[in-house]
């Protein structure tokens, strides 16, 4: 220890952090990988390449990406409204955004299902238009949008609130129209936070089980999500296969998140 750190307490706080991280993240993940390693290569390939797993993976990642995208667009709009305008009930609306965080996901799933089922409020209207919402891929998408939405709003909100009106005013005095101000000044500043929000919503959606299970219908090859396949393997006491699917999911998710992070860095760097 030749150099003493300026901020005291480094050893102690690092100790706490490492122990804590090990206990809640590293050790369980290591156990997962060890369990998954119980399968041979052939079994891995057969399991992860089976049509059921591939269909479920397409649905899980596809619906998650779609839901996160919609959350990002609508989240931007909602945040804009919440931050930029004063209107009665704003506080209430603001508090409501957090509901999907607090609600048990099973409750969310059952509620959404009750509303979007063919005999539910909205389901009835959609059914008359020939659209089946619950027990279809659309139901999965709806549930994932519901749970992912607050992530976007909550990451964008502080950034937008801090932004201040000065730069917009400056842009306006230099002759930029409203659209140009948004496109060239405001939006680029929001992009990093927007990507973070998208990433959080996306990651959350990939792992979501509780809410989706009630609304998806769980039909093999059609509306099964990957976490449900893991549960099915567990029900058969096939812990290795469950761990293998989980590991596969984890690797794909991690790669996607890593790519998004890289993208974000590039954008950050360009903005500088």
């Amino acid at each position: 220890m030749s150099k003493r750190r300026v901020i005291p307490g480094f050893g102690m706080s690092l100790g706490f952090s490492i122990t804590w991280l090990s206990l809640i993240i590293l050790i369980p993940l290591a156990a997962l990988f060890i369990k998954a390693a119980g399968l041979g290569w052939e079994e891995w390939r057969e399991l992860l390449g089976s049509p059921q797993v591939i269909a479920a993976a397409k649905l899980t990642f596809g619906a998650s990406a779609a839901a996160a995208t919609v959350s990002a667009v609508l989240g931007l709009l909602v945040t804009w409204v919440l931050v930029r305008y004063e209107f009665p009930g704003r506080r209430l609306l603001d508090a409501m955004i957090d509901l999907p965080f607090a609600l048990p996901t099973a409750v969310a799933g059952i509620t959404l299902c009750a509303i979007y089922a063919p005999n539910g409020w909205l389901g009835e209207i959609l059914a008359s238009l020939g659209i089946q919402a619950a027990y279809n891929w659309l139901g999965v998408f709806i549930a994932l949008t519901f749970i992912g939405f607050p992530f976007v709003v909550r990451t964008l909100q502080p950034v937008m609130a801090d932004m201040g009106k000065e730069i917009e005013e400056a842009a306006a005095t230099l002759g930029a129209g409203r659209w140009t101000v948004f496109r060239r000044v405001v939006f680029p500043l929001l992009v990093p936070a927007l990507i973070t929000g998208f990433t959080l919503a996306f990651a959350r959606a990939i792992g979501e089980y509780g809410s989706v299970i009630f609304i998806s219908g769980n039909l093999p090859m059609k509306t099964e999500i990957l976490p449900h396949l893991i549960i099915i393997q567990l029900e058969q006491y096939n812990y290795e296969a469950a761990a293998a699917i989980a590991t596969g999911m984890l690797v794909v998710s991690f790669s996607l998140l890593f790519l998004i992070n890289l993208l974000q860095r590039r954008i950050d760097w360009q903005n500088r």
Binding site: T19, Y135, N218, Y237
Partner: protein
């Protein structure tokens, strides 16, 4: 140099101590606790049984007995016990789910099913059809389930014990109808599951889908659950008895390793034996389970009529075989969904 390292190590220790101190146990000799881990539709039945048995036990021994109940999908419950839920007794939907307590965790002896009379199943049940009032789709038997436009509700046999009984009952009918021609039987099963719009993970989930959401025309259900639906939604549904069904034997067992550790072996055994007494058999009948005692079963024959029933041991070679042939990866259930 030393101080930071010491702090570093002690902080690790402190975190561990805090976590370790969150556990803890308490107990006394005057009172005794029992945990019964069961499956979904038995909730109401065991509430009654526990009340009566606890009173009996107090009279006999003076001990205050509290029986905790845990309910959920049968397979999930078995997994919880394997993973360390310290059940004293298990009362699950099928023998296969108790077998795994032995094969996966050695929690009870291999011959557990011989410890109590009648395959350790104090009550039985079967699979019936629940249809909408007036039976608008005219569903009378298994063959009608594959008619176009008939929506069939069943949970997923991969995750639900009840659904496995449904699946095997349908299979048994088709096996007889098509004279054991397996490709025809498979084709029937394929058409049957084409008519299934939702596969819930457990029996209660399917009940909700059918009764509350109004999805489907026929619900393949536990007999007792079918009567519960009638009670909950009076005048909305009818129960149809098909020409053939399956004898479902939900077995019970003492989880010996846990019971011995808790010192509850004696009371656990007495609890399960109590299920065979007249008193408990009548309770079973009241909750629409079929009592094993033939004398008491007679009292309930109006509600729970006799019908031809296949059995898992005689017709499917026992649970282990049925599980492997039909529900394991690559079994018939996977095959009907592929291609």
């Amino acid at each position: 140099m030393k101080a930071p390292k010491l702090l570093f190590l002690s902080s690790i220790l402190a975190t561990l101590v805090i976590i370790a101190s969150c556990g803890g146990k308490s107990g006394s000799e005057k009172s005794i606790e029992l945990l019964n881990v069961s499956y979904d539709p038995t909730r109401e039945f065991y509430v009654d049984v526990n009340r009566v048995f606890a009173a009996d036990w107090k009279k006999q021994t003076g001990q205050e007995l509290t029986i905790q109940q845990s309910h959920g999908g049968s397979g999930k419950q078995a997994r919880s016990v394997i993973d360390g839920l310290e059940a004293d007794v298990v009362t699950l939907a099928l023998a296969g789910d108790i077998d795994v307590l032995e094969s996966e965790a050695k929690l009870l002896p291999k011959d557990w099913q011989t410890k109590l009379p009648d395959n350790s199943s104090p009550y039985t049940s079967t699979i019936v059809f629940v249809v909408r009032k007036g039976n608008p789709k005219g569903v009378k038997d298994w063959g009608d389930l594959v008619n176009p436009g008939v929506g069939v509700i069943t949970p997923n046999p991969k995750t639900s014990g009840g659904a496995r009984w449904n699946y095997l009952a349908a299979w048994a009918w088709a096996d007889k109808e098509f004279a054991k021609d397996e490709s025809k039987v498979l084709d029937y099963m394929k058409r049957l599951f084409k008519n299934v719009p939702v596969l819930d993970t457990g029996a209660r989930g399917s009940t909700t889908t059918f009764a509350q959401r109004g999805i489907g025309d026929v619900f393949l259900s536990w007999e007792n659950e079918a009567y519960l639906i009638e009670k909950e939604f009076p005048g909305k549904t009818e129960i149809i008895y098909p020409s053939i069904s399956i004898l479902a034997e939900p077995p019970v067992a003492v989880v010996e390793k846990n019971a011995k550790k808790h010192g509850t072996y004696e009371v656990s055994e007495a609890y399960l034996k109590f299920l065979y007494t007249d008193e408990a058999q009548i309770l079973a009948g009241n909750h629409f389970y079929r009592p094993r005692n033939p004398e008491i079963a007679k009292q309930f024959v109006d509600k729970l009529p006799a019908l031809p029933l296949v059995t898992i041991d005689a017709d499917f070679g026992g649970w282990a075989t049925a599980q492997k042939n039909h529900f394991a990866d690559g079994g018939t259930f996977d095959r009907i969904y592929q291609r």
